[in-house]
Structure formats: structure tokens, C-alpha cells
């Protein structure tokens, strides 16, 4: 799992079945000091995150497991909104 900041959202009306009704957000991965790390990515939201929220995500197979029904074709899922990080 890794930290990220929500920077936008993606609207895609035509998409594969498993993605219907799911919100897709743009996330900039960051480190614990909110320093950007790597490229912005599209991620499925499972916790109603909003723009500017510091969130944490899970990738690869676990991203698919974050959804119900799982094994939807996703490789990044926002699974929590971060209240705080002590450094």
C-alpha cells in the first residue's frame, strides 16, 4: 500500500462491465512528506475520497480484492482516507 493525493477524477461512460458505477479518481503518489513520487495514476475509489484528500491505495491483485464483486479489472484502488501521518 502507498500514499497518494487525489488530484482529479476520470469520467468514462464506455468501459468494461466490472467498472460500471465505480468512481475513478486521479491520484499523485506521494511519500509521507507529501512529496510527489512517480506518475499520476487512475485508481478506483472505494471510500468516497475527494479532490485534495491524502489517501492510501493498494495495487496489483489486492486492488481487485478491494471491490465487491472482486476480480474486477483494476490495478489500483483507494482504500482509505488518511487522517494523519507522524514523521
Amino acid at each position: 500500500m502507498y500514499l497518494g493525493i487525489v488530484t482529479g477524477s476520470v469520467v468514462a461512460s464506455r468501459k468494461v462491465a466490472g467498472l460500471e458505477g465505480k468512481k475513478i479518481l486521479l491520484v499523485q503518489p506521494v511519500d509521507e512528506h507529501r512529496k510527489p513520487v512517480g506518475d499520476v495514476q487512475a485508481a478506483i475509489d472505494t471510500v468516497q475520497a475527494g479532490e485534495g484528500d491524502l489517501v492510501y491505495l493498494v495495487g496489483s491483485r489486492e486492488a481487485a480484492l478491494a471491490l465487491d464483486p472482486h476480480f474486477v479489472p483494476v490495478d489500483a484502488a483507494i482504500v482509505g482516507i488518511v487522517d494523519g501521518v507522524s514523521t
Binding site: Y2, E32, E62, L65, I81, V82, T87
Partner: protein, 81 residues
């Protein structure tokens, strides 16, 4: 790191940001987030499992658990050959 609004599978699991180290204790690679299984504290040198199936076997919450990393040990010492 603490979060109240989160996927139910994370309920009850303390979480930390973890910085990978090399054998000499120098930072290497990107920090990431892990749940804690050994009551670790900030500043502890720890062992981290970063593979989902292993974590699912550890937490015993069934198969649909989107958790990928878990702190599984606190390192007392590293001896180099």
C-alpha cells in the same frame, strides 16, 4: 499513519509508513504503508511481508482482503558475514 474512513478489512489494524533499508541500514527505495502485527513503534527497524497471499494467511479474514504489506517482526540486530 491513521485513517478512520477506510475499507473494512483494515479495521483494527494499526498502520505505519515504512522506509526500506539495505543491510547497512541506509534508506533504499520508496516508502510504503503496512499494517502492523507486532506492536512496532516509529523508529523501529522491522521485517515487512509485502505479498498479499501471505498477509491474508496471517490476518485470517478470508480471501477478499485488499491488504498487501504487513510488519511481521522487529529486528534486534543484523550480523553481516
Amino acid at each position: 499513519m491513521w485513517a478512520t474512513v477506510k475499507h473494512p478489512a483494515f479495521a483494527g489494524h494499526p498502520m505505519f509508513v515504512v522506509q526500506p533499508l539495505d543491510q547497512d541500514g541506509k534508506d533504499v527505495g520508496q516508502s510504503f504503508v503496512a499494517i502492523d502485527r507486532v506492536q512496532a513503534g516509529v523508529g523501529d527497524k522491522v521485517l515487512v511481508l509485502t505479498e498479499g497471499t501471505g498477509v491474508r494467511q496471517l490476518v485470517k479474514q478470508g480471501d477478499v482482503v485488499p491488504i498487501r504489506s504487513a510488519i511481521v517482526g522487529i529486528v534486534d540486530r543484523v550480523d553481516l558475514g
